[in-house]
Amino acid sequence: MTNRAQTDQDSKRKQPKNMPELIRLENVSKCYSSGPTCEVFPLDSVSLELQQGERMILLGKSGSGKSTFLNIVGGVDTPTSGKVFFNSKELTSLSSFDLADYRRKEVGFIFQSFNLFPTLTVGENLTLPLELIGDKDHKKARDLLAAVGLADSWGKFPELLSGGEQQRVAIARALVKNPKLILADEPTGNLDQDTGATILKLIDEVSSMSNASLIMVTHSPDALWIAPKHYRLRSGRLELEPSLN
């Protein structure tokens, strides 16, 4: 059976029509080794296409390579073999400088443990991605903070916020620069069920607003509704989960 994802099986909801391709992976493999030969294959000849605005869920056991997948797509890691394209531009041929530029402009990361900078205020955390791309207009950041329901928290330090609030700030930080791609690595993993649900709803809303593509790693069955396509990484192979789709 080919490992290529079956992109023609569109889901019932949130499936964009006739959108251009955003991400394409061609036979991407990643191996880790302590010697000359590969010992661990978190990714083995993975191929995938994702259109602009399209969403997917990535499932898999711990250590199955989900985060490696996100890192390669996000340009923070490089595959051992294979090619990754973003907007038809081959990421795997880019220099580390250009990859940083790609992350800076095109990708928004949401982490399980929020990873806000404790010494920056909420506002400073939020405007940091904008500053990095030379955008001095902070109105966008304020609007987005209001959109996630934390308009009053602009000058606060993250330590004064609850976990759910911190994750909301983290989501706003990921989206503030209008990235084309959002990569979320278990964004509700550190939150209780109710807060997790709120956060998922928020991710759904704000990514819809910006028409960003979303790849989300999760273990939570409650989060599966956010994307029509569910893939599972098993022994390095990417498989579409037919039963869930």
Binding site: S67, T68, S113, P118, L128, D185
Partner: protein, 839 residues
Amino acid sequence: MTLATLLKFNLRYYKKHSLLALLCLMGISLGVGIVIAVELINGSALASFSASIDFLSGKASHSVVSQYGRIDEKEFRSIWKHPMVSAASPIIDVMATTAETGSDSIRFLGIDPFLDPSFRGWTPQESDDTAFTSLLAGPIPSIYMSEELAQKHNLKPGAHLTLLKAGLEKKILLVGIIRASVSGNLSENLAVMDIASAQELFGRIGRLDRIDLVLRGDPETLRKALPDGLTLADANTRKATLNAMLYSFQLNLAAMSLIALFVGVFLIYNFSMFSVLSRREDMSLLLTLGSDTRGLVGAFITESLLLSAAGSLLGVVFGYLVAHFSISMVSSTISQLYYQVNVGGVHLTVPIVLSGVGVGLVATLIGVILPALEVAVTPPVLGIKRQSIEDRVSSLKKWLLALGTLFFIASVLGAWASRFSIFWGFAAAFGMTFAFALMTPASLSIFTHHLGSVLKRVIGSLIGFLAARNIKASLSRTSIAVAALAVALSMTIGVDTMIYSFRGSVASWLDGSLQGDIYISPDTTKWDHPLPDDLMMKLQADPRVASLEKYSTFDIYINDRLAKLRVLESELLKDKARFHFIEGSEDAWNELPKGSAFISESLSFKSGIRAGEKVRIPTPQGAVEFPVVAVTRDYSSDQGTVQIDRNIYKKLWGDDRVQSIALFLKPGVSTDEVKTSIMNDFRGLEKTVVSNSQMRETVLGIFDKTFAPTATLKGVSLLVGLLGVATAMMAILMERSRDIRVLGYLGLTSGELGRMNIYQGLIMGFSAFLIASVSGTVLTYIIVHAINYRSFGWSIDIRLNPWVFVETLSLTIAACFASSLYPTLKLMKIRTAPTLKEE
């Protein structure tokens, strides 16, 4: 779980963090090393001096010495015949050099060859053959020389030497050698000659420098019988008198060396705290596996002490090397400023090694107290966040600021209390340094917060903004490093400003004191070698010379304390010199010829005598009370100086010897021309005839040489401070790798991350500099008013030198850049890729 098991477990940690451990080890080594170096240097100087006194005293139980600089040889007979005296030997004791032995100073001992052997077995004996005859009645003065000195310059009996006396040459003959087997390990260069020859050769006819005695009964009986102005001193008293002169000099050196160790304590603390915090999970696991808190604390302290012992032993070796290479410089300074010492070398003894290790262990214990408490009181909960430590420091900084303020106030009070004891002066200096260290977390937090905003908004540097905020984010780490560096820098600024101010004050004093066009001032002036009479007569008759001022300085005792008596010509000087009067005024000059005296402020400070009071000066005609009409600023001697008119001196002492001369030339006369003609007429005076500016340079050269050791002390402190910065940056790198990765996810390149790290090092250095600029300036005031004045009795006009600040800043920035390079290279290798899932 046994201590051994825990230690074995912990050893793995040191393997993993070997670089940090090495930096900490170096910090301990440098701190201990510099303390040991100063201890060795001080100890060697005193030991050498003490050995010299013991050796030269021989069997003498006591010596008769004069409080007014000389003993009339007529006194000898009555002392010798005193019923309490079993044996007596008159001595001329004078330092000089010869052309053949170059710069080696030689102690010339004039003895009576028939009386002296009962004191010193090594002086020439009557049974000795022709050499002895030659010593007594040779055609030219003859000497015996110590074997080591003779061998060093390849001199053998029969060799003629050229004695350089006040710059003039006299021929002497080497007739015998004092064997090393009898002179032992004495490093003193020694020449022994007949006392009559010595008196003649050194212009001391009719006088003795001391009389060595073997007493058979109560010394008090003899003491009471001695003429006024002569005192009876045993060897210990003489040692104590001279050691007291060195006390302040050595105390200041020792205190400065402690600064390096003080800075080292910060480094130890930083490393220990890092090692505790980064092992918290391990420790929690060990507790769950059955270890107890006491065991963990014990293991932690033991491993710290083992590290400290290793560092201290390395420090002892380092200290020995520093002492070995700098002992000659320091002993030369002591010889220049106080008395002649010839230190053969430094000797590392078991007590010194133990004291080095002890000092290192104490410093370590101080440094690990808080980290050990951290181990002891933290509950065994897994997964405590690093952030919680920062939160704690963040709330603690207010208390530290308050404590720092209290220390500040206490230090100001300590500085005031220094008038009661110098101890309070040093306590104030250390307290003030510590006060600023305690204020560092709060001030660093505020500064980096605002600096970050300024860098972003005004300069548009996002990287600078992140660097500044990173420092704030790791305040528990960065504030210690910045505080340690600030301590080292404040010492640099404080001491450099003090030296600059001191130099400026000395230069002003020289301007006021040195008014002559030409000076004839041989090196031997300090050894009381009078200038030849014919030189004086010729110069007085020289039509190009407008006037001639004669100087002489002698050792005397004021209130049983050694001081200098300076003889000057007040009629001439009142128009020429511009003395800085602390008390009294220019009118005081008119009182000197009437029998009044000026005293230096150091003498005034040490003896408590003020203008308007009287100073009791011992003279050959008994003690005379001189009204003190002025207290002047005088940096020539920290023992204190009393200045009287030459005519008064002549009358009381019956002596008109001159040691140096200042010439005032008539208008239009060329200085070089007069200099050349003096040198042509008096061969041997080449090096001693100097112009006003050369004289000034010579004095300032001695000043600079005196403070040269401080450069080493400052350098080591600074090095320890910079090791602290490097350690902190490495620690931050390990602790904040998560944040660094997040920045990578947000799109920062490794170059930008590297730049951020360099900026971080630079901002830490700059912050330390800013703190040190304030604390260093405050420290200058404490050093000048509460330490220097209390130690030496010298007041100094404080002048801030912008270059001291510019140089310190440049050095700090360059050094912080250098010490952040390695952590930056490590940072640039951090891969962004590892996931950021768990805290």
